[in-house]
Homo-oligomer: 464 residues x 2
Amino acid sequence: MENIKQYVQENKERFINELIELLKMPSVSADSAYAQDVINTAEAVKASLEKAGCDVVEMCETPGYPIVYGHKIIDSNLPTVLVYGHYDVQPADPIELWDSPPFEPVIKTTEIHPEGAIFARGACDDKGQMYMHVKAFEYMIANNNLPCNVKFMIEGEEEVGSKSLGWFVERNQEKLSCDVILISDTGMISNTQPSITTGLRGLSYVEVEVTGPNRDLHSGLYGGAVANPINVLTKMIASLHDENNHITIPGFYDGVEELSLEERAQMAKRPFSQDAYNKALDIAEEYGETGYTTNERNSIRPTLDVNGIWGGYTGEGAKTVIASKAYAKISMRLVPNQDWENITELFQKHFESIAPKAVKVKVTPHHGGQGYVTPIDSIGYQAASKAYSDSFGTTPIPVRSGGSIPIVALFEKELKSKTIMMGFGLDSDAIHSPNEHYGIFNYMKGIETIPLFYKYFTELSKNQ
Amino acid sequence: MENIKQYVQENKERFINELIELLKMPSVSADSAYAQDVINTAEAVKASLEKAGCDVVEMCETPGYPIVYGHKIIDSNLPTVLVYGHYDVQPADPIELWDSPPFEPVIKTTEIHPEGAIFARGACDDKGQMYMHVKAFEYMIANNNLPCNVKFMIEGEEEVGSKSLGWFVERNQEKLSCDVILISDTGMISNTQPSITTGLRGLSYVEVEVTGPNRDLHSGLYGGAVANPINVLTKMIASLHDENNHITIPGFYDGVEELSLEERAQMAKRPFSQDAYNKALDIAEEYGETGYTTNERNSIRPTLDVNGIWGGYTGEGAKTVIASKAYAKISMRLVPNQDWENITELFQKHFESIAPKAVKVKVTPHHGGQGYVTPIDSIGYQAASKAYSDSFGTTPIPVRSGGSIPIVALFEKELKSKTIMMGFGLDSDAIHSPNEHYGIFNYMKGIETIPLFYKYFTELSKNQ
């Protein structure tokens, strides 16, 4: 694979132009007005896989948008890499905050991207990162150095909760069988310090409703004599954390893995400035669970956050009302070994138990997902680490992300394979926001790094 | 005044028809589309006072809608009663919930009003109650038995906060000088148990804003590591009450008058069923400050209620966001001797002091007003009590209302006179709601009772 850098350099312009064509297609899965564009994008992905050298490429029907499947099987005795990505994108709203139209890609330089970045919806998430895999595959076919089998599964509903993916995976376990799953849909620390996401948090998302009197009341005539559901809700929510910001739900921490001091020391090596973090968020001080650092709090520790709260009069001016109802949306980020369905049940039981008799409480579970950890001593991680080391000249740092990608747990359950998250995006890429972009450096580095993963993964597999 | 019952009976139909004409005028002060109707209503009130027998009637210009002033001075050595009322009405919204058009009055019987009630916006609040005074005055002029001087001050901005009233009263202290102020803009317990409102609570209304990070954040990537302003706001609000539902703001209770057991025993005589109260509100249990009954909690005790709260994602479904800001509208009902401006300051200072360093807090005072108490040994109260006793055959019960009428404290301050609140409405009259109505029994009883107040007030004044 000595010539990968040269191949990338020689084809750079074409790689960029092909991605730009893909980015022009507004494949917004959340908005049915774009349904045909989503389908067209799937067709374009299918065509690109065929052209790159897959033996078989299929548009697989699902209850929702199709999943593009392709493969190249060179030898059933060799390991198989399953590449997952998605061709749908977030809505572009609020459009007025974009400096250029979201589906008319432009290349501009920025401080972080002196080589330029492509500005368009989906540039990083996930068309740019997904297409790196197509181009890396093209390189290996063109140069006759594909070291193993490869399968592609590119879906079109990631931005709306991967609604059909579980359905598809359950029904196609043999077709999707593999030795490792490779995803580029996360980020890395910086262009000089690569990192590999080794952990994701799970999620339990619930909505609560507190009902006091059966109608809105005049706060003068009734105030003080009836339970105000907003006051009660604030008391109930406040009680969910103690003075050390530990969560007070009985059983919540059962099974939560305590990392060894050694592991925490490893984590702490990640370059991080609390001052810069606070400055970027304009906060005077960090805040969280006693005994843990910021990077531990947002990755290896579970949380309970109110994502939304509402009740009573919220318009201009003043209204002296005691509302009949108050609501909150509450999510808990979970760590591996916390089962999201069990946690949802514990929350519900506890929340109902702490309600004063003067109110009624309803807890509605929304959705959830399990947390995930990739062991850093796995050959998948080792192969990825070597690949980054070669292409960046720096050993990547394993990073636990605080976010959740429920499909990763699904893959492990259904396909019995570990997932390696080789993300090349940066925090500053503004995914899900106006002016999303993806660095040309990152795009090219991704194409350059991926074949090295294939090489090392195949080598390490032989030694097992 | 022996013939008052007879006069009311003989003129009943005309009294009803005159009120109906007044109710047809949509004098909605909150909506400028009705500006001309508000002016026309003022003109009609002016004409009615002239016709009833005032010597002088004026449309007094203010920065807002005019105040109708009229008087009949029979002897400067006799006491003077100043009648206050308002000719503007609440908006009729939501119109679709009215059973008949709000400005096309109809008479219908109800369970509580077997003699019929007039259904129209403003029927009780306050056109019906205000017009009783015009008709009672007409009776006394027509029968040549007006025992004292009388002044009328009927405003057109009560439903929008009496914006010009303070301006007017400050500038017309001599014109408005009086020995007592008489208002019918409250209610009584029932048609068989009259009551007189002797106390009103004061009010301090504030809005609070808690700012965490400078922008909305992904709750996966940041959750647990930054102060979530909604979580923090719930903790701050929750801490404002202790486990006995006492308010924890330092100094909040300074000066709060503790009623004697004797006075509380008097209050407890008011007919009241906690079961019926809970059933009407569909609550399993009452809730409030330890050591006080429901009727004490909502009248002689101060409160702190959240009237509105909002922050984060409040739409359908789920969004895993940590909001940058969270808000609440909070009002405190105050009892006499609590100065609303002082309480607002105490709140602000305390709320800012309990904020963790990781957030910024802003407290914006909205508005407020002082509480008020009429001593039941005053001659005003005694005269009103005798008047009700005569016309209803039952001694009225003094009642402290939990609501606030800031103008009453204003009158006391500017005019140095006590206010007597002789309300004839019922809780069930649906003021400020669809299908507002006013019982014909109540309207007639009011006209019948008011001249008796004049009589007793004049008599008791002589004995002072």
